[in-house]
């Protein structure tokens, strides 16, 4: 059974105007998204900024109000009510390690926050748990009495991860966990996240705009554009057999490390751009939004118009 199942999720933000501040229109941040994540896997959610990928993560964990649709966690409906048990099992890692740790609190109090909310531990037990957690994320236990500003960005993000795993959750929503970090530190944090995934049997919902990282990190990937899915599939399907023109364009934008391939890369990019311009209307409706998903294999779904499906 899937650990997380999202069905036709919609999150709209009202636009208020007029004399009585009535809602005149909506921004459709997330517009009918469905997916499921298997236990122990990493599910990548990719899209440009403003595509609604972060909103999905925030909606699942209860930071945004869900307009319609359903979210099931281990088969339990958690759409509107977030019971204690679910809170414990569902945690989040934030994008900005500088603002996600309260600057006025010691590391001890930061990591202990979830423990104090859910578990009745004695002072001694608490200290012991935090020592273990710090060790797990590779920080010395002396860090406990320090404040966030005494750490580097990578260290801070590891503190954020220690806090997220303190309750031994089953699913972690990682909202661009490395994009605020230096490139040199990114790999370090990502590898570390993979290590603890194995160790604790975690499931990740990994939100990112960086296809390179997603390729390295995720089992299943979905591509988002303007609040809708354009393509969903396994890592191989997305990277080796992209079907949607938007996915192709994104992939062609990944830089190649080998300079001798530069010309080849350039030609591919040009070709993709041409296709994008010519066939734009086959892939996007009159509002510039993606169509609904159509399965082309067991795991691979693409947003296509009914009749275009056969064109290829």
């Amino acid at each position: 059974m899937a650990i997380l199942e999202v069905k036709d999720l919609k999150i709209y933000f009202p636009i208020k105007a007029g004399l009585l501040n009535r809602t005149v229109d909506h921004i459709k941040a997330v517009d009918g998204v469905s997916f499921q994540i298997e236990q122990g896997k990493t599910y990548g959610l990719v899209g440009e900024s403003g595509s609604g990928k972060s909103t999905i993560g925030r909606g699942i964990i209860g930071l945004e109000k869900i307009t319609s649709g359903k979210v099931y966690f281990n088969g339990v409906d958690i759409t509107s009510k977030n019971g204690k048990e679910i809170r414990k099992n569902l945690q989040m890692i934030f994008q900005d390690p500088y603002s996600s740790l309260n600057p006025r609190k010691r590391i001890l109090d930061i990591i202990a926050e979830p423990l104090r909310n859910f578990e009745r531990l004695t002072k001694k037990e608490e200290i012991k748990r935090i020592e273990e957690l710090l060790e797990l994320v590779g920080l010395s236990k002396e860090s406990m009495m320090k404040y966030p500003h005494q750490f580097s960005g990578g260290q801070r993000q590891r503190i954020g991860i220690a806090r997220a795993i303190a309750l031994k959750p089953k699913l972690i929503i990682a909202d661009e966990p490395v994009s605020a970090l230096d490139v040199s530190v990114q790999a370090q944090v990502l590898n570390f996240m993979q290590d603890i995934q194995k160790e604790l049997g975690l499931t990740y919902l990994f939100i990112s705009h960086d296809l390179g990282i997603v390729k390295h990190f995720c089992d299943e990937i979905s591509i988002m554009y303007k609040g809708r899915y354009v393509e969903q599939g396994t890592k191989e399907e997305i990277f080796n057999h992209p079907q949607h023109i938007y996915t192709k364009r994104l992939l062609s934008a990944i830089p190649d490390m080998n300079p001798s391939n530069r010309d080849k890369q350039f030609r591919i990019r040009k070709k993709v751009q041409q296709e994008f311009d010519q066939r734009y209307h086959d892939y996007f409706d009159s509002e510039g939004l993606a169509y609904s998903l159509k399965p082309i294999s067991e795991t691979h779904l693409v947003a296509l118009q009914e009749d275009v499906q056969k064109v290829r």
Binding site: L63, Q95, S100, P103
Partner: protein, 318 residues
């Protein structure tokens, strides 16, 4: 816990020193958001000669006034002595006597003490209400904020002095506590507005969002997470408010609607000046009180302004 800290110090003294240096440079750039905010306030205050002087002066006045009034025989001062009415300053009475032959200097000390005490009390009470109101409005936002802000707008547009006077005059069993409560009821709005706008910004930060996902209650997030982060703003606002509250209280006492008759305040001494004879010929009764109010208000303001500069990195002098 302190043991752990001590250990780390011994093991890694050099590292700690490095950290300290880093802390210093970082805190230069960012006051609001780090634990050394209070230290910054203090160091800024120390750099500002006028503010430092004001602070020392204030401390001297407070210690002096509370100290003396403690050893002074208050019944002696309140005693009417018909043989020494309206005496100008002399060796016996440093600041002369009033219409009841009471020692003005003694009344000045007691009055300053009472004015300061009520100033502290009212500032504290209105601060508590204002901070709580502002935090709740700013943190929740949306409809709650909207409703609370309309309430605040209404309170703010009311003529403060008039309503306090009306309430003071109709309250049965009028006491200092009743006065403080009435005063507080109409003076919390400024703090609330400031705190609310700061809380609106603060709640968008990820650490607040993180606390929500960690299952921390709204109440705890508001008062344990957000409030410590805006503590320097709270301190600055309260300091500046203290100055204006001392002025307002003395004004109300001047009009006769402040302290009850039995407890003189600085305003009570000034109210003797509504008698033209006293105003024109007996300066020693009211003028020292006027100077005292002015000194207190300016000194508190100087300290408050220096603190405000310290929280606003662009205006910092150092």
């Amino acid at each position: 816990m302190t043991r752990v800290y001590g250990l780390s110090r011994d093991l890694d003294l050099w590292g700690d020193l490095m950290e300290l240096g880093k802390k210093e440079t970082q805190s230069q750039q960012n006051t609001e958001n780090n634990p050394t905010g209070l230290k910054i306030l203090w160091s800024e205050l120390r750099r500002d000669k006028l503010a430092l002087f004001s602070l020392i002066l204030l401390i001297v006045i407070v210690v002096f006034v509370y100290g003396i009034s403690f050893v002074m025989n208050q019944d002696e001062i309140a005693k009417v002595d018909l043989f020494s009415i309206h005496k100008p300053p002399s060796k016996e009475f440093i600041l002369g006597t009033d219409y009841g032959g009471r020692d003005v200097f003694g009344q000045l000390i007691i009055g300053t003490r009472n004015s300061l005490s009520i100033g502290f009390l009212v500032t504290f009470l209105s601060g508590v209400i204002g901070v709580a109101f502002g935090l709740v409005a700013g943190y929740f936002g949306g409809h709650i904020d909207n409703i609370l802000m309309r309430v605040l707008d209404f309170f703010q547009v009311l003529p403060f002095i008039m309503l306090v006077i009306v309430f003071v005059s109709i309250v049965p069993n009028y006491t200092i506590i009743a006065f403080s409560l009435i005063f507080t009821a109409f003076s919390w709005m400024g703090v609330a507005r400031l705190i609310r706008s700061k809380a609106l910004q603060e709640k968008e930060l990820d650490y607040v969002q993180a606390s929500k996902t960690l299952g921390t209650s709204h109440f705890k997030i508001i008062f344990r997470e957000v409030m410590p982060n805006i503590s320097s703003l709270i301190i600055v606002t309260m300091t500046l408010n203290l100055a204006s509250n001392i002025g307002l209280e003395s004004g109300l006492s001047f009009l006769g609607f402040g302290f009850p008759e039995s407890t003189p305040s600085l305003g009570t001494l000034l109210s003797y000046a509504t008698n033209p004879q006293t105003l024109e010929h007996r300066w020693w009764i009211w003028f020292p009180a006027a100077v005292m109010i002015l000194v207190l208000m300016l000194a508190v303001r100087n300290v408050g302004e220096a603190l405000r500069r310290a929280t606003d990195a662009r205006q910092r002098r150092g």
